[in-house]
Symmetry: C2
Subunit: 578 residues, 2 copies
């Protein structure tokens, strides 16, 4: 991982690949790498779909090694959805394979002069870029099936569906999982539209002949990894809850807490929650011969993923995640697990962010385009997106644009990006993260559900403003650092609660890189990344006024607790004051 | 004009009108009044379609008097199009009648709890607000015809068409002209959507029994008005050009200057310009028994309006203005005057800003939805807007949203509002105004075409950056002041060139209000208004980064002069540094 691959899609002689050393970017990985490159190289006021934007795909610092959970990649660009910097984090096989190929980043630059669609193949021996218009408007599933025939089932694919080709602001980038299915997505912020604007349909990564990456201090690394894995297995969430029920273990928990945004953020409890909870989901999956406890990439010991089959036992989709179940479920008043699985499959196939699409359909329902609870109507709306009808184009542009187009006032977005599955009125720490994250509303940016609801890493009353700014700040710093390592964010549960697991992680990174790391170094890394991002956003025109929740969270009390979001603006302005 | 009428559309017992004294707003008129109320009373981060936004309609300081050209009203709100403060300026009869009724402003506040549509009737004896759902989705022409039957042809109507009811961000508010036709529009910034959100379809103003407003010093006023009118008649633009050819006298002038944005701002000259020039237009109008040289309100001596008939001599629309002829014409590659007149009529009937719609159709053509030059396709697209189909909803949301939804990179907007009919690369002073105006891209905010092209008020090379900031700054200050008086902006040609005409205006205002005014007072007034507006925008989250033209004006050289926009960012930041 000592080189950067740059592909200039706008070269006058056609797309051109070149490799270079890390230079200024040495020592960076994942989100640290993507945000540094975007912040330094992309003009903040450029058009997100223009030649000056760049799409950066970077494995984490530990990706491609034997470190458990190190299979996350970061995808960065100026976001077509928010207009600010974006890092979309993704699992699957891509990070590991890319890291083993030796690339600390792939950077797609420039823009083709016409609408030719390209395929990029990266192997040990070099890079091949070929026009492949036959792939146009192909769904991710068909695309990956077709490529499997040609390249075998060991390669990893990074691809866009029709949504990315249509440059929709809700378009994702799909990463294949261990079974070479396009189920893991760099979902948020419209990164797929930027890949579409670059004219790249798919990047095929083949690491044949490349070794697993070796640590500088193998013995120390092995010991630290062992302790780290033990910590993950010991913690009730990473060791029991997530393997048994996946992320959807949260539906019952968050619903119980009165924080499950229902009917476009009108109440915090959903009557149908029991029908779509993780517990119900796992039962359905087992009964139909699906798989529970499945890793999205090699080296995962948490295994929160799974396989969701239809009634006849045929594969439909991976286990729909909690955010997806909420977005297409409670948020739209839908409690039909099979309908949600179908929507999840469609999102993955078209290449769409499930959070943005669920929130958008909620806004469309608010606008009267469909009734809350009407699963078939939701499926039909999503089909429109895949087809690119005018209505589909609106919805594919996300919740903010949909609200604008239909004159809807209650639109749950920050910086143009839809809020995820925790109402900020009853999880006020999440409200602080949504409001202030450099990413727009993003639960992963500082997951205050930990101390607000799960009593992980401490305990802060979720219904009150006190302590939320500090909580969110610390989590945002820690998260930025974790996102640089290539580690799955779910390790946070264990490292927040178990000092020895945190120390094992720090030791593991130190043993791998040969540095003598401390906890303070990790904090410093997180702050640096946030500073890059914040600086970019400021130069892109963002101000404190963009660090706010929509009005209605401060005006409408949320049942059942009948609370409004109470963190003061001046306190929100202290999040980055460290 | 010593009272303000407030109508709370959200009162729990139904809409409620109340009158009050001017208070803090004493001495303000037009844009001075609207921007002061919005800046002081509207929370800058509120949703433009929510209960906290206000719609302010204010006649100018001299409206309702015998002062020539004093028939302009200002319509203010937080704009659904830009998210910033908005003043849309409009002719027709409304300002005069409203002023004679004694109101310095009507303020629509709050928001009804349901979608009932209301009619507001304002007479000498009081205000009546009644539900009138039978008017739903009625076009402005049918609406006004229907009201004429009920209220006679002396009342003035202020109304929205279907676009405003659908809360489209390109929706205008129509003011009837002297023949009670809904041809004069507060066009820009989506003010019609705010009126729609307030649930008000139409305001009927009946000034029966109310006298013309009297000046404090009648003799001095009369003399000053006489000198002022003489000045207007003497100047070649206001005395000859505008009466003979209307504002469309500019098509040949701007095309010749290489500044007529053609095919969505790709070139500065349009081959078909001769077919849609003011000269050609006037010939067509005369040949068909239309009217050339027609005032939009009583007391107009410039008379730049007119009547455009079809081939059979039947009324189609008022004389399409230059901006409209450009927007639906050259910008879309259309050189068919009848098609442009039809588009103008449709915009007026649906209640849409012709500039925004023409620019939007240009972006739609860029996206491939229709071919440049295809007039029928443009008409069909506009029909979609009137119907509110999904495609129509997109287009009715304006150029910025249309560009976002269809993934178009070349979108000519500033602060979300479409650029008008002068390419900022070949009229660089206009570029400064577009970039820095508090209103978003707006030619009327500081009409640098004067010194850049027309040699009015001096001469500044239009193709070079030098001198443009100062030019735009001075014009923006002067314009804000003029917009407060109720004076038609076209008086600027005469007062910029003829000191005695400027002095006559100052004397006239002084004689009317009883103040001892100087030119410095006028400048101070303009600066105050801009400061209100700029402060609101800053609190709404706007920063220097919003005072920029889209990238492509700095990257693509415009034929025939092959120039890019060259005014530096740091110079743009000096516009408000006075």
């Amino acid at each position: 991982m000592d080189k950067i691959l740059r592909i200039n899609m706008g070269d006058k002689n056609g797309p051109k690949a070149s490799e270079g050393p890390l230079g200024d970017y040495a020592g960076l990985g994942g989100r640290g790498m993507t945000s540094a490159i975007i912040s330094k190289e992309v003009p903040p006021l450029c058009h997100p779909l223009g030649k000056d934007n760049k799409l950066v795909i970077a494995p984490g610092l530990l990706s491609g090694s034997h470190a458990a959970q190190s299979g996350r990649a970061s995808v960065g660009c100026k976001s077509p959805l928010t207009g600010g910097i974006k890092e979309a984090n993704v699992g699957g096989q891509g990070a590991q394979v890319l890291a083993r190929l030796g690339y600390a980043a792939i950077v797609l630059e420039g823009k083709p002069g016409d609408d030719t669609l390209y395929k990029v193949v990266i192997k040990k021996d070099g890079v091949e870029i070929t026009p492949e218009n036959s792939l146009k408007m192909m769904g991710n599933y068909d695309l990956v099936d077709k490529l499997k025939e040609e390249y075998g089932d060991k390669v990893a694919c990074i691809s866009i569906g029709p949504a990315g080709e249509m440059k929709m602001a809700a378009a994702s980038i799909a990463f294949t999982n261990m079974e070479q299915r396009p189920t893991r997505h760099a979902g948020r912020g419209g990164v797929g539209a930027v890949m579409g604007a670059k004219g790249v349909k798919v990047i095929i990564l083949d690491d044949t002949g490349m070794p697993t990456r070796s640590p500088k201090d193998p013995e120390k690394f092995k010991a630290a990894n062992k302790a780290f894995v033990q910590g993950l297995k010991k913690h009730p969430i990473t060791g029991e809850g997530l393997p048994a029920f996946g992320t959807n273990i949260l539906t019952n928990v968050i619903n119980e807490a009165g924080a499950l945004p229902t009917h476009n953020f009108k109440t915090g409890r959903f009557d149908g929650a029991g029908n779509i909870s993780g517990e119900t989901q796992s039962e359905i999956m087992k009964a139909r011969g699906g798989m529970v406890a499945h890793g999205c990439h090699k080296g995962c010991v948490i295994r929160c993923s799974g396989i969701y089959n239809d009634k006849d036992g045929n594969y439909i989709t991976k286990r729909p995640e909690y955010e997806t179940v909420w977005a297409h479920g409670g948020n739209c008043g839908i409690d039909d697990m099979d309908a949600i699985a179908e929507l999840d499959r469609m999102d993955d196939d078209y290449g769409l962010d499930t959070i943005e699409m669920g929130a958008t359909i909620g806004v469309a329902m608010e606008a009267g385009l469909a009734k809350f609870g009407d699963a078939q109507a939701a499926i039909n709306l999503l089909k429109d997106v895949g087809k690119g009808t005018p209505l589909g184009r609106i919805l594919g542009s996300g919740a903010a644009v949909t609200g604008k187009v239909f004159g809807v006032e209650r639109v749950p977005v920050v910086k143009g990006q839809a809020l995820p599955a925790y109402d900020p009125r009853s999880v006020q720490g999440m409200g602080v993260t949504y409001a202030t994250s450099t990413m727009g509303a993003d639960h992963t940016a500082g997951y205050a559900v930990t101390a607000n609801i799960l009593n992980v890493g401490g305990s802060v009353d979720p219904l009150k403003p006190e302590g939320q700014v500090e909580l969110s700040r610390n989590l945002q710093i820690a998260t930025a650092a974790i996102d640089a390592t290539g580690m799955c964010l779910f390790i946070a549960f264990a490292i927040l609660d178990q000092p020895e697991t945190f120390n094992a992680l720090v030791d593991m990174i130190g043993a791998f890189t040969g540095q003598d790391l401390t906890a303070d170094d990790v904090t410093e890394l997180g702050k640096n990344i946030l500073s890059f991002e914040r600086d970019f956003n400021s130069r892109a025109g963002f101000s404190a006024k963009d660090d706010r929740l929509p009005d209605f969270f401060k005006a409408e009390a949320l049942p059942p607790h009948n609370v409004i979001f109470e963190v003061k603006d001046e306190d929100l302005d202290q999040v980055y004051n460290w």
